[in-house]
Symmetry: C2
Subunit: 371 residues, 2 copies
Amino acid sequence: MQSTDSTPLSYEQAGVQYDLIDPLKVAAQRAAAATGAHLAAHGFAEVEASRGESAYVVDVGPFYLASIVECLGTKTLVADEMQRLTGRSFFDAIAQDTIAMAVNDLVTVGATPLVVQAYWAAGGSEWFADAERAQALVAGWKAACDTCGVAWGGGETPALAGIVETGRIDLAAACTGLVNPRERLSLGEELGPGDAIVLLGSSGIHANGLSLARKLSSRLPQGYLTEVAPGLGYGEALLAPTVLYSPVTEALWAAGVRVHYAANITGHGWRKLLRHPKPFTYRIHTVPPVPPVLRFIQQQAGQDDAEAYGTLNMGAGFALFLPAADAERAVAVAQRCGVPAWVAGQVEAGAKRLRIEPLGVEFGGDALQLR
Amino acid sequence: MQSTDSTPLSYEQAGVQYDLIDPLKVAAQRAAAATGAHLAAHGFAEVEASRGESAYVVDVGPFYLASIVECLGTKTLVADEMQRLTGRSFFDAIAQDTIAMAVNDLVTVGATPLVVQAYWAAGGSEWFADAERAQALVAGWKAACDTCGVAWGGGETPALAGIVETGRIDLAAACTGLVNPRERLSLGEELGPGDAIVLLGSSGIHANGLSLARKLSSRLPQGYLTEVAPGLGYGEALLAPTVLYSPVTEALWAAGVRVHYAANITGHGWRKLLRHPKPFTYRIHTVPPVPPVLRFIQQQAGQDDAEAYGTLNMGAGFALFLPAADAERAVAVAQRCGVPAWVAGQVEAGAKRLRIEPLGVEFGGDALQLR
């Protein structure tokens, strides 16, 4: 019925109502902030600037401790449907997505991820009876740990009938790491005018915007089997695993490139470039090529560039803010890690805003409310 | 229809099929173990003896890093039903349960918990629209952090329509801590004959055995409103929050009591006393009083003592193995923390088994398969 529907599709229509979540988030953030003082009794201290950043950082003396838990979201629903359509399990890719959600956030603060814990909450014991799928999840999880050089510490595999829907699984990852040496801390203290913005390429939608992407599939006559490029189906393209960026951040440090700040481009798309509270203008002069699946979503959802770049990664999965003199070298280091990269813009003095010049798109400082 | 059913109710009948989960667990444990070597590239090393223990431990030089993620399980279903019956939200207690699952595991290795991350995955944004419930969750979470002296670092509040059932929430906690100083590491290297077993009291069912407890409620004519003791309803008794044991383990260290090993008594009940791989006989001469709700479950489910003590905590939520000379002092320290405690038995040379002498119950070394 919806196959000829061409009305624009917004994020709220896709089922995510941020206004219902946000009051709780504010209350939780306030309560959480009040607990940081407990660390003094143990001889440690929170790094207050990490509140509102992508990972929480504690000063434990010889180095900083960083930790995080991250949910994959609803990308498994695409994998489930694609398994039904193709008979193939995509849970190896899904495993990488889940680890990427945690690792890519953790490295923004300058931490080396050390330990990942698995959280696999199934709708019932029978989820694990599909041996091929379960083994794909295990194999993909291990491969992602291998890529990131992290130890898989353990985890939980609860069967939660009555909470998680039958046949579904709720996936998350917790990650702990160290900022070592301490000078690697990249909470933006040195972020400032003159810094270059280096963007790292994405592999596709990664794991944000899936509610929209799933809603869209119901409008397509061939659904997930619709081609987004010759030989590339929509569902398969959506399931390209998220790029793991920790090999790049580790290689940058090893190469002597000092990152001032970093942003993982997830929910809110490029608005995440406005993440740091400092009031700067972020001017983008070069825009990475857009992966076919994201161009397809933009077109099918009838989004203009402002909406597309404000909600999806549009080809840039991670942003580095670093000294301009190191920008080209940073690009080379990333490319040696197999990750495409571009010197895409610079930080300038001025009102807080993001200007994507090639597209004529601008986001004001109030376009992102995370704190 | 089931109100007069008096056939015994086993854990499998209650819906948990461990044999479907275990093959995956074995594969995951094997893959995870193979990743520990990655830590060498960062100048660190895993503590191999922590594999199979309740928290994963990494040697980072000046101290050990411990981390974990733990799921609450299905206890929220009892809170949801009790809210329907009484109009009252029990999510403050539920928050404490969730943190206890993580913190009580983390402290078994000798770690001081430092940071807790919240994982609150709701079936949809509307879960958060019940402000009283949401605020209870926040308040309870903060209060538990205050009790444990941990910093609430942040967390995730995803809305997972299509994965988590509408109106439900999947709760988990990740916890990171340090074993500091290093001598606090309590992986059982010094566990041996002559050690005393000190048991710490539970407040009730804690958060294990809830599938059985819920199944049982459907057999009772008055369900969760059935009295288990004068003035104490079954549902309300089930929702007594799990005891947080980290204040006790911190106070023990401060008092100079050195713990050789510790076991959090959760799933598998007292069989968890057999957790350490060393082959000893654990002889129990004193059994704590059984909380009314657990005695009620045992009676209603028609369990003998072996089944009850082999699946539920039966009044003992945590076990400490420590030098006999310190046992009475450990009890006094726990009681000063408001936690009842008993010198309950001792470790002896001999075949691996647990003998609960006052009950005439014995579990062999093969009664617990965790590795």
